[in-house]
């Protein structure tokens, strides 16, 4: 089995020998020009010199003696050229590394020249770092047509021949209007510079013009990493997963948890991808921190429904995280120091303008505090390492290599020789190759591998431990065919091999006095094919439809058991290596539509069917990441299925800089899993005996109102939703609310820029309490007071609410090579105790602590206790950047 570790090693080796590239004029390059009535020839020479670009023009076709006036300070090359175009009736275009100036053809209206159509294509990048921009807009106002760049920054737009003003824009970046005569296919790689006045804005969704309005999907949210950085966080440690809590329809289990629930789905129904590779457990330190380093992230795209056909494997959501490619022009070091962790990220070019790297790491020093109280806690840490390399092999080929490794290790008493504790690690690696078959056909081929290991360390010295793991090795190819401005076809396929170890003991010392059960490992192969079309039927109405075909095959070598209806094993089936013994085939139709009702209004609707072939099998109610076991769909576990319908409304209030999003959804889920009372989950070869199956149902509505511009910005999100389960042999077969059924979910986020250097942010969350089962009566047995539960999830924890504030201050008065800032955070400002559990089995010990009774005579007096994690937690962070 090729593990992620191996893949990462390969990536490192491969990348060392690579580099090549080409360079085009940088239209975003800043320059100043002050010419009044100067000769055009002189102005062109000045532009060439100042902007360091090769200009090509014919003195026979252009009147170089005409006078022009240009007064621009710190303007982009594109702006100056546009002014020149306007005054001198010129036009310009990029041909390879030259800027070609030619006579203009002023046309008020588009006059298609015959039946010819040409394609405009290229990449859209950030000017400063050359980082590709995902979801940037290319729009032709004259035709009312446009497109957005894909996850690799590529766009393609086929138009009738003619003269156009093309607008390139991306939220928070300067808009460039590009004048061109489209008389042949053109490649325009556009670079957009940050708009200084918008640097401090916080947005949750990028929606800035007509193209986006017409393409809004239901349930799709793009969370900007910069907004995550601003949000107050526990110990000042920015947390991508916790930030999801601010999005209506997504709720976290509670404090100390990275477990989250989307639109009534269970916690294992969320697919988290980092550069296409899945991350099975995004938690550090049991869930208090998340695995993602915000500084390494370029884009976070969240789908709560209407998941594109190219993605699948989970029922409820897709969290698609894209990491930074690295600056191809200069080396940048940034980092931060906090109370719990230190982070550093280094990015820069291998070859300037051609290839780049991005390396970031994080380590915790919580051990130092813990050792004050528990000296034997010698290994107590978590670490992260993100590595990414980016090569432009040719104008048509790009290669991206990504690696991620994260580890948690909490072991007590290692020096005494009997250290025990828990550890887990995530590994992920991807090799992605972009290839342009033509300016209309873009492909991305990805080889990726992920592995998640969870260990319960029994004895460090003897190397005795319990381990479970899940791993995959996948190869996929995705094609995007930009057939016309109205039709974008996506198609592709994937093959994956999954490996599961549902938890086994690895005993290297004497196994002792009892036999250790063996839980058979599982292997599965997954084939996927998909086809989807993004079809703009009219300028106002677009339709997205697609079909995903999944084939899941269970393979030997393994053993399966056959059970009767009372869950008793009746037969044992042994399969040889490579033998396919079970196949599930599932078709997943997806359809979505958007109608742009006006310049600022759109309506949207979608239906999607999703299938899930693997499940986290745990009956834990802890908010923490527990000893986790994954099981594949197999003869005893049918694939989970979901059908989701959603309808939405989007309204932009341009003058007030407000966006309003409303969505209603309903979701039906099949083959949902719950557990028999006190299911025996670990080291149980017959773990399927403990599973109970049934259906789930969720419905609700979500509202998001956000202010996206100005000194004061932020959003209010509210969701009302319900989530139900009906599972055989659970709750007397009656329907019951899921534990994560939290009808009310309100989030309130505000950020205020006091000055260019000083920002204050606040975050307030309110949620209905988590549902749980409380006793309806008790009985005595051998001195123990034993609870009786008559209804599942009949009670709720108290409502959850919390206010956090943070303030960030830029220490430098003016931008410098070394810039640094300081952030103060007060997490849970009003010291709210949000219980994570209520128990009924404690008595009061002599020191006043609640404890489990140790003596049964005299009969202990019991009382209810609540357990919570955080009160008010202050934090300070120091953040620096060196360019």
């Amino acid at each position: 089995m090729l593990t992620a570790r191996h893949v990462i090693q390969c990536l490192l080796i491969i990348c060392l020998g690579m580099a090549s590239a080409f360079a085009q004029p940088d239209l975003s390059k800043k320059m100043s020009m002050n010419v009044i009535g100067g000769r055009l020839e002189y102005v062109l020479q000045e532009i060439s010199k100042t902007a360091d670009v090769e200009l090509s023009y014919s003195s026979k076709k252009i009147d170089l003696s005409q006078n022009v006036s240009i007064q621009k300070t710190n303007a982009s090359l594109a702006e100056i050229l546009n002014e020149l175009v306007r005054q001198a009736n010129l036009d310009y275009m990029i041909v390879e590394d030259h800027l070609v100036i030619k006579p203009g053809k002023r046309k008020k209206q588009i006059q298609p020249e015959g039946p010819f159509h040409y394609t405009l294509s290229g990449y859209i990048r950030e000017a400063e770092s050359d980082e590709v921009l995902i979801g940037a807009t290319v729009y032709v106002a004259d035709l009312g047509k446009g497109t957005i760049s894909n996850e690799f920054g590529f766009y393609s737009l086929t138009l009738p021949s003619g003269s156009y003003s093309i607008r390139f824009s991306y939220i928070g970046y300067q808009t460039i209007r590009w004048q061109t005569d489209l008389l042949a296919d053109q490649v325009i790689d556009m670079k957009l510079g940050l708009e200084p006045s918008k640097l401090e804005e916080v947005r949750i969704i990028k929606i800035d013009d007509e193209v986006d309005l017409a393409q809004i999907r239901t349930g799709n949210v793009n969370l900007e990493p910069r907004s995550v950085e601003r949000m107050p966080a526990f110990l000042g440690e920015q947390n991508v997963i916790k930030a999801l809590d601010a999005i209506p329809g997504i709720t976290l289990q509670g404090d100390g948890s990275t477990l989250f629930f989307v639109r009534g789905g269970n916690k294992d129904q969320n697919l988290i991808l980092i550069d296409d590779a899945p991350i099975y457990n995004p938690a550090h330190f049991l869930g208090i921190f998340s695995t993602f380093i915000p500084e390494a992230i370029k884009d976070i795209n969240i789908y709560k429904g209407d998941i594109p056909a190219e993605y699948g494997g989970r029922l409820s959501s897709l969290i698609d995280v894209r990491t930074k490619d690295g600056d191809v022009n200069r080396t940048i070091v940034n980092g931060s120091l906090g109370l719990a962790t230190a982070k550093v990220a280094v990015e820069g070019p291998f070859r300037k303008g051609k290839s780049s790297y991005f390396v970031s790491g994080r380590t915790s020093y919580i051990k130092w505090y813990v050792q004050q109280y528990i000296p034997s806690m010698e290994r107590f840490y978590f670490t992260d390492l993100n590595v990414k390399f980016n090569f432009r092999l040719s104008p048509k080929d790009r290669l991206y290599l990504t690696g991620y490794a994260g580890r948690d290790y909490f072991v007590l008493g290692t020096s005494t020789g009997n250290g025990s504790g828990i550890s887990w690690q995530n590994l992920a690696g991807t090799i992605r190759w972009n290839h342009l078959f033509s300016d209309k056909l873009f492909s991305n081929t990805t080889l990726y591998s992920s592995k998640y290991d969870y260990n319960f360390v029994i004895n460090v010295t003897e190397d005795d431990y319990w381990n479970s793991h899940i791993a995959n090795l996948s190869l996929k190819t995705d094609f995007s065919w930009f057939a016309s401005p109205d039709i974008t076809l996506r198609f592709g396929g994937k093959v994956t091999r999954h490996n599961f170890n549902p938890g086994n003991m690895e005993i290297n010392s004497d196994p002792g006095y009892y036999n250790i059960p063996v839980v058979h490992r599982r292997i599965a192969r997954e084939w996927t094919l998909y086809l989807s079309n993004n079809h703009s039927i009219t300028p106002r109405f677009s339709l997205r439809y697609g079909l995903r075909l999944g084939i899941w095959q269970n393979m030997g070598e393994t053993t399966e058991y056959v059970y009767d209806k009372w869950y008793n094993p009746t037969d044992t089936l042994v399969y040889g290596a490579g033998e396919v013994y079970n196949t599930y085939t599932r078709l997943e139709p997806r359809i979505g539509m958007t109608y742009q009702a006006g310049r600022s209004t759109s309506l949207k609707a979608s239906y999607s069917r999703t299938a899930q072939y693997l499940q986290l099998v745990t009956n834990s109610i802890s908010p923490f990441t527990t000893l986790e076991v994954y099981l594949p769909a197999a003869p005893n576990i049918r694939p989970q299925m979901a059908d989701q319908y959603s309808v939405g409304f989007f309204q932009k209030f341009r003058k007030a800089h407000l966006d309003l999003i409303l969505e209603v959804f309903t979701k039906k889920m099949q083959n949902q899993i719950d557990y028999a009372d006190h299911a025996y989950m670990l080291l149980n070869p017959h773990i399927e005996q403990e599973l109970r199956f049934g259906t789930g149902e969720a419905y609700g509505f979500e509202v998001l109102l956000k202010k996206y511009q100005g000194r004061l910005n932020g959003w209010i999100g509210y969701a009302w939703s319900r989530s139900w389960r009906q599972i055989d042999d659970i709750n007397n077969n009656d329907r019951y609310r899921a534990a994560w059924d939290r009808p009310h979910d309100l989030s309130f986020y505000l950020s205020y820029n006091v000055s260019d250097r000083w920002t204050i942010s606040m975050n307030w969350l309110y949620m209905t309490g988590f549902a749980f089962s409380s006793p309806t009566s008790f009985y005595q047995y051998n001195g123990y007071t034993v609870p009786i539960y008559e209804k599942k999830n009949n009670d709720r924890l108290p409502d959850y609410h919390r206010l956090d504030i943070s303030t960030e201050f830029q220490i430098n008065q003016k931008p410098q090579r070394y810039s640094h800032r300081i952030r103060l955070t007060l997490f849970n400002l009003y010291n709210r105790t949000n219980p994570i559990a209520i128990n009924f089995n404690k008595t009061l010990y002599a020191n006043g602590d609640p404890v489990v009774p140790g003596k049964l005579y005299p009969p202990p007096e019991l009382f209810a206790t609540q357990k919570y994690l955080y009160g008010l937690v202050p934090a300070i962070n120091y953040i620096f950047t060196f360019k």
Binding site: L339, T626, L627, D677, T785, K842, V852, P858
Partner: protein, 279 residues
């Protein structure tokens, strides 16, 4: 410099001070009066009168169980040749039913408990498995309290229950104290399962006792079914409230018709000793 060090120390420690706490709370339970019966029956290899107690569940966490009187209770034993023998139990106190003093469980036989109450017949069955020998009693001094000790518990090889009665009421200085202050009953279970909530179970009350305490130990064997019952019993009592809690659920039982509790059959070994000072 010193001041800045102090400030940074405070900032570093504050998060820890505020993290994780458990406190008493008033929680209003939505209780009801269930119709089920609670059975606690233990049959051992000892020749004596064995007891089965029957009661109703209680709605108060610290309530007193309401005994059930007037039930017909019998234990049947079946040997390998399918010969049956019945032992009728007699109610000696409300809710307490005893066999006669000649009954004892033996290996290779199946024991079945039958209860007839208000027209409903409840039953449960169990069998005897061997018990491990008692290990020498181990204890250690309570830190900072000379001549006060606590028991060390070590799991037995096979699933078992160890019941320990401590009595120091005969010692000078304790003679006039009420029994609640001079006696303790402790139960330890050995369950061979690996459960997350067991591994990370919450803190348990410590039970110190003085030198000279009389210790009476009884170790009961547990068959597979009883071990499973105890595993779930512990999940709802001693193991609940730890770091990795599991879904609450009803404790398993070997009784029919919705009755709760357990009818167990065990082999028992016992010893007694006196706590002596440790060197």
């Amino acid at each position: 410099m010193k001041q800045s060090t102090n400030i940074s120390s405070i900032l570093l420690l504050l998060p820890l001070i505020f993290i994780s706490c458990e406190e008493k709370t008033d929680w209003e339970l939505d209780t009801n009066e269930p119709k089920m019966i609670v059975v606690e029956g233990v049959l051992t290899n000892e020749r004596k009168a064995h007891e089965v107690s029957i009661s109703r569940p209680m709605t108060d966490l610290n309530g007193t169980p309401q005994p059930i009187s007037g039930a017909l209770v019998a234990i049947w034993e079946r040997d390998q040749a399918n010969n049956f023998k019945a032992h009728r139990l007699h109610e000696v106190q409300p809710g307490r039913y005893l066999t006669d003093s000649t009954v004892r469980a033996v290996f290779g036989r199946l024991y079945m408990l039958f209860i007839l109450y208000q027209g409903q017949e409840y039953s449960g069955r169990s069998y005897l498995v061997p018990v491990d020998q008692l290990e020498p009693l181990r204890y250690h001094q309570v830190p900072g309290k000379e001549l006060w000790y606590e028991l060390n518990f070590r799991e037995t090889d096979r699933p078992s229950m160890v019941e320990i009665s401590l009595n120091w009421g005969h010692l000078i200085g304790f003679r006039n104290l009420p029994a609640e202050q001079t006696r303790a009953r402790i139960v330890y279970y050995t369950v061979k399962s690996i459960d997350v909530n067991k591994i990370f179970r919450p803190a348990k009350e410590r039970v110190p006792f003085p030198v000279g305490t009389r210790v009476y130990r009884r170790q009961y064997s547990m068959n597979e079914s009883q071990e499973e019952f105890v595993r779930t019993l512990m999940a709802e009592t001693e193991w609940r409230g730890g770091l990795f809690d599991v879904q609450p659920g009803n404790v398993r039982t070997n009784l029919s018709e919705g009755a709760v509790g357990y009818f167990s059959v065990s082999q028992v070994v016992a010893d007694s000793s006196v706590i002596l000072p440790l060197n």
